[in-house]
């Protein structure tokens, strides 16, 4: 069992609740034990750092200090935006002693800086593939586009996670459960993030490019690990379709939902019914067809 502190973040209680539900649903089978940080607060996400720098340090610092108080060594932060804020603030505070003391004063708690912040992909990549193999009841045999977005991989010097331009860890996890992953151009492009409400037109433009590329390269689903990416690609689908002048039926799944499906967990437990774009995955006869097709193709070449 991997015991991890758990910081769900505000989205996972509201518009991204299926992310929390699916993570909890797969945690037992994947050997992850979650300990929720008591009385956690919002990290300030995309708003605090635009308005007030000290506030953007203090809010995440309180969360980290609460986790330290519980003697946790690592905390799992599934929301990519929260993960980024917590990790950046941790880095900023441990590299400046004066600042660390000042912020500790503001939050009325002592932040030491000896806790590690990990994202969902890192936690999932630690599961040994032979351990997972026995649990897989329905291999997730679809062609998927793994969409990392901005905040899992950037800034590379601080988050220090995978390759910044062409990351692979999510692809590797998806391959372990049976998926084919595409090589595509929008893996780490921005979806428009926090502009969902204030500049929906920008979100439609940026997210539209992402969906278009994934579809053109043959993806049957887009896999994400961030509530903002999910809501922009799923909830804002009608705005995207209006801008692009065409319909897109490609579903967007959290990586935890895809794993849950492979583990044979019900759609309802994984919260698939909560998506705006219905999760309809094509029926698979693919593996059979391929096996028959390959030898004949070779024969023709000869």
């Amino acid at each position: 069992m991997m015991r991890l502190g758990y910081f769900p973040g505000c989205s996972l209680l509201g518009t991204a609740r299926e992310y929390d539900e699916s993570l909890r649903a797969i945690s037992h089978k994947t050997g992850i034990e979650l300990f929720e940080i008591p009385d956690w607060n919002c990290c300030g996400a995309s708003a605090a750092h635009c308005i007030n720098h000290d506030l953007s340090l203090a809010l995440p610092a309180r969360i980290l200090a609460l986790a330290e108080k519980e003697k946790l060594e690592e905390i799992l932060v599934p929301c990519a935006a929260c993960f980024n804020r917590l990790d950046v603030v941790r880095h900023e505070l441990i590299s400046d002693e004066k600042l660390r003391q000042r912020i500790s004063g503001i939050i009325e708690m002592d932040f030491q800086g000896n806790i590690k912040v990990i994202n969902i992909i890192e936690a999932l990549s630690r599961i040994p593939s032979d351990g997972l193999k026995e649990q897989i009841l329905k291999p997730f045999q679809y062609t998927v586009a793994c969409y990392y977005g901005c905040l899992l991989v950037r800034p590379p010097k601080i988050v220090n996670f995978d390759r910044a331009e062409d990351p692979q860890i999510m692809d590797d996890v998806m391959k372990k459960i049976g998926a084919d992953t595409i090589d595509w151009a929008y893996k780490v492009e921005c979806c428009g993030a926090g502009f969902s409400v204030s500049r929906t037109d920008i979100v439609a433009k940026l997210s539209g490019k992402i969906i278009k590329d994934a579809v053109q390269r043959g993806a049957e689903a887009i896999i994400v690990a961030c509530p903002m990416c999910h809501s922009n690609l799923d909830m804002r689908r009608s705005e995207i379709e209006r801008l692009e002048g065409r319909k897109y039926s490609i579903p967007v799944l959290y990586i935890t939902q895809a794993i849950g499906l492979a583990l044979g967990i019900s759609n309802k437990k994984l919260g698939l019914h909560r998506h705006i774009v219905p999760v309809k995955l094509p029926l698979k006869v693919k593996t059979v067809v391929e096996k028959e097709f390959v030898p004949t193709a070779k024969a023709e070449e000869e």
Binding site: R17, A47, I106, I107, V153, F195
Partner: protein, 196 residues
């Protein structure tokens, strides 16, 4: 390098203050343009990121006023593509954060940025009193601030039917600490304004 002489009233230039407060030197930028090439929104900005860096290097009051009044600083999504690709590792997102709060403090905000700022402020208001973000409260606050009353009405019932809208906020036990964090950090913020 960074001269204070260009400013008649003896104020420090933006680039000096960025160096002192954010520990970033804008003079490291040699205008390769990678940030502007990678920025997902440079075509929507009034000045693409590399041009903004050049403007910071010029250090004249007129140009600095244009920087603080630019739409660029508010359009920046902090996607961090620029810093990931910068050969000189200039932390442009951090500089943008500084410029945004400076622009707000000096009340030089670009008129088109109103909605974006209203969203940020409504977001923070929602946390201030409860400790956690309440999405329904955020949207209500945003509509109240911007009068965009009809925006996103069609999507609301869809979210509600899917159980994604929580009507009532959750109050954390430490909500008074959060309120104090807001008071303390904004006191500091206003203190800086008073210094000028």
């Amino acid at each position: 390098m960074a001269g204070e002489s260009n400013h008649h009233n003896g104020d420090k230039t933006l680039s000096v203050r960025i160096y002192e407060q954010v520990n970033e030197s804008v003079f490291r930028c040699y205008q390769c343009g990678k940030c502007s090439a990678g920025c997902p929104l440079s075509e929507d900005m009034d000045y693409p990121p590399s041009q903004l860096m050049r403007m910071l290097q010029l250090e004249t009051p007129e140009v600095e006023a244009n920087i603080l009044r630019s739409y660029t600083i508010w359009l920046c999504l902090t996607c961090e593509t620029c810093i990931a690709r910068c050969p000189q590792e200039v932390d442009i997102p951090k500089i943008m954060d500084f410029l945004r709060s400076e622009s707000l403090r000096r009340k030089k905000v670009h008129p088109s940025a109103k909605d974006i700022i209203s969203f940020h402020k409504s977001f923070l208001d929602s946390i201030k009193y409860t400790g956690r973000l309440h999405e329904v409260g955020l949207i209500a606050g945003y509509k109240f601030r911007t009068y965009h009353l009809l925006k996103d009405l069609p999507v609301a019932p869809k979210l509600f039917l899917r159980g994604k809208l929580k009507l009532f906020p959750h109050f954390i036990k430490g909500k008074s600490v959060i309120s104090r964090i807001f008071t303390k950090t904004f006191r500091e913020y206003k203190g800086k304004e008073a210094e000028k």
